[in-house]
């Protein structure tokens, strides 16, 4: 079966985020970018499904500026077979991303679509669910285990009180949580091979989707910073401060 994986280019998770002085956003100039960590887990899961003989082809798709091709090449080096780049220099919000991905789903007809549960920049946690709704598919969000069985997939989900397992008809959408797997590193030969794998580029207009943001960011500010307090000498002093100064115990 064919698996479609959607990935996003985001600020590298080790980079310290700085708000721009004019409060219009976050400073991304000359900042290291990388594949969103949850998307790496999505690629890894698809590659494992292929290694198990469940998946026959892995198509990886991204939406973003020209530079986002780097993230497609990374996914190809990890084991994806071909890439689709929907090129857009504009900000693409979750609903528009889901509409673009829906157009790709209609063309590619994958049995399974795997996405990260959220991107670490906008922290929205929306696109996978929206894609599932727009395509009329079932969804297994925040997955910690994915088992494909014939025309069904069982997804174990991380929920607030523990774990929940759902059964979904294929085709279906899965979004990954942290503990689904531990992504591998790409080897140098695979990075070289990835450069020769096919990559199609298209525009949102080619897919018949108009990108029109519904949300306007009015301003972006740094969070109220917390000041470091005091160091206490021992446990007795700590308990005394908590009880008599902070009055929280």
């Amino acid at each position: 079966m064919k698996v479609l994986v959607a990935v996003k280019r985001v600020i590298d998770y080790n980079v310290k985020v700085r708000v721009k002085p004019d409060n219009t956003g976050v400073d991304l100039a000359n900042v290291k970018m990388a594949m969103n960590p949850f998307c790496e887990i999505a690629v890894e899961e698809a590659v494992r499904l292929k290694e198990k003989g469940v998946a026959s082809e892995i198509v990886v798709v991204t939406i973003g500026p020209k530079a986002a091709q780097e993230q497609i090449r990374t996914a190809l080096a990890l084991g994806a077979d071909r890439g689709i780049h929907i090129e857009s220099d504009e900000e693409v919000q979750s609903l528009e991303a889901a509409k673009l991905l829906k157009a790709v789903v209609e063309k590619e007809e994958p049995k399974l679509v795997i996405l990260g549960k959220q991107s670490i920049d906008s922290d929205n946690n929306q696109t996978g669910q929206m894609l599932a709704a727009l395509t009329g598919m079932g969804q297994g969000t925040f997955a910690s285990e994915v088992v494909v069985d014939g025309e069904k997939v069982q997804v174990t989900r991380e929920i607030d009180g523990g774990l929940m397992t759902v059964g979904l008809k294929l085709p279906a959408v899965v979004t990954t949580d942290l503990r689904l797997n531990e992504p591998r590193y790409a080897s140098l030969p695979n990075i070289m091979k990835a450069k020769k794998k096919p990559l199609d580029t298209m525009s949102p207009a080619d897919l018949g989707v108009e990108v029109s943001p519904r949300l306007t960011t009015l301003k972006v500010e740094a969070p109220a910073s917390r000041q470091a307090g005091i160091k206490v000498g021992d446990v007795a002093e700590l308990v005394d401060k908590l009880k008599n100064e902070a009055k929280v115990i």
């Binding site: 609903l95 670490i120 929205n124 599932a132 709704a133 009329g136 005394d240």
Partner: protein, 313 residues
């Protein structure tokens, strides 16, 4: 325009997060209705009707809604919600699961995890793991919004007298089915709403050592949390994780034990009223946000803490 709040519940009792979401709805302003979708959930409907400031409670009681399957729930909410100006739910794992589906079915954007209401169409929310705070204006006619419960003080659970109406709408998509559930059983308070939280990190070294935190938690009536490092290392289950991608907590007192304080962890507990930290590394970033820091070996400090609390409590 009126506001529809989707209740958070387990079919027998209403979760407190629903009262936090009603508080967010009050901040927006307008008539507030609550939708309770579940199976054999009549008692939840009655509890919701007592919440302060609620106009009407709609109860959709059907097996299709028993396990909060997003495919069924979203179709119900989209149909009922069409007539409202806002649809609000708690940003727990249930709300995060079905609400974006509702938004897509209604062809509107969603505003996730709001911390503050500026006006009926403008909301404040964290981005980049809380390292930046965005003010966002939504232009759609229906605003689909998930609410960070800890950012709003709950309305009173008692005193209201809303009418309760049964809804006969059954949406069973047939796309998904419930298979099983493994819920952690605990007599301790719920991590997301506890007044005191004590969390362990990689410094705990193994799962057995978390028992030390349990005795302290029992004395304080605290919930127990963990850093991602402790969860990834397999010390404790995932539902204990506090952080950007785990639970967001804002207790009166947060005690961090053997936690270095990565930004992703701080994103989940930085709004706590008082933070105390025990760590043997005095350079640990957790000390930059802690009100009270103790540089000590946790294996000595935690038993001492237990003994000291015994004296004063």
């Amino acid at each position: 325009m009126s506001i529809l709040v989707i209740a958070d519940h387990d079919n027998s009792s209403l979760k407190q997060s629903t009262l936090n979401v009603v508080a967010a709805a009050k901040a927006i302003g307008g008539d507030i209705d609550i939708l309770v979708a579940g199976e054999n959930c009549g008692s939840v409907g009655e509890a919701a009707a007592k919440a302060e400031g609620v106009n009407k409670v709609l109860v959709a009681d059907n097996a299709a809604y028993g396990h909060t399957l997003a495919e069924n729930l979203s179709e119900l909410v989209a149909e009922v919600g069409k007539g409202y100006g806002h649809i609000l739910a708690s940003a727990g794992t249930t709300g995060k699961d079905f609400m974006p589906r509702v938004a897509a079915l209604l062809d509107v954007a969603q505003v996730s995890d709001i911390m503050r209401v500026e006006s009926e169409d403008t909301f404040v929310r964290p981005i980049y793991a809380g390292n930046a705070i965005a003010t966002v204006k939504a232009s759609d006619s229906i605003k689909v919004v998930t609410v960070r419960p800890t950012a709003f003080d709950p309305v009173a659970a008692e005193g209201g007298a809303a009418s309760v109406e049964a809804l006969d709408i059954v949406k069973d998509s047939g796309l998904s089915e419930f298979v099983s559930e493994e819920l952690a059983k605990s007599d301790r308070p719920d991590l997301s709403s506890a007044d005191i939280v004590i969390s362990g990190g990689r410094g705990m070294q193994n799962g057995d050592n978390f028992k030390m935190l349990e005795s302290v938690a029992d004395q304080l009536g605290a919930a127990i949390g963990a850093s991602r490092a402790a969860v990834d290392a397999g010390f404790v289950p995932n539902d204990m994780q506090v952080g950007q991608t785990g639970k967001i907590v804002a207790p009166q007192l947060y005690i961090a034990v053997g936690i270095s304080g990565a930004i992703q962890h701080l994103a989940g507990m930085g709004d706590s009223k008082v933070i105390a930290a025990i760590n043997k590394d005095e350079e640990a970033p957790i000390f930059q946000v802690a009100d009270y820091g103790l540089v000590a070996d946790l294996f000595e400090a935690v038993p001492e803490l237990e003994a000291e609390l015994k004296k004063v409590l």
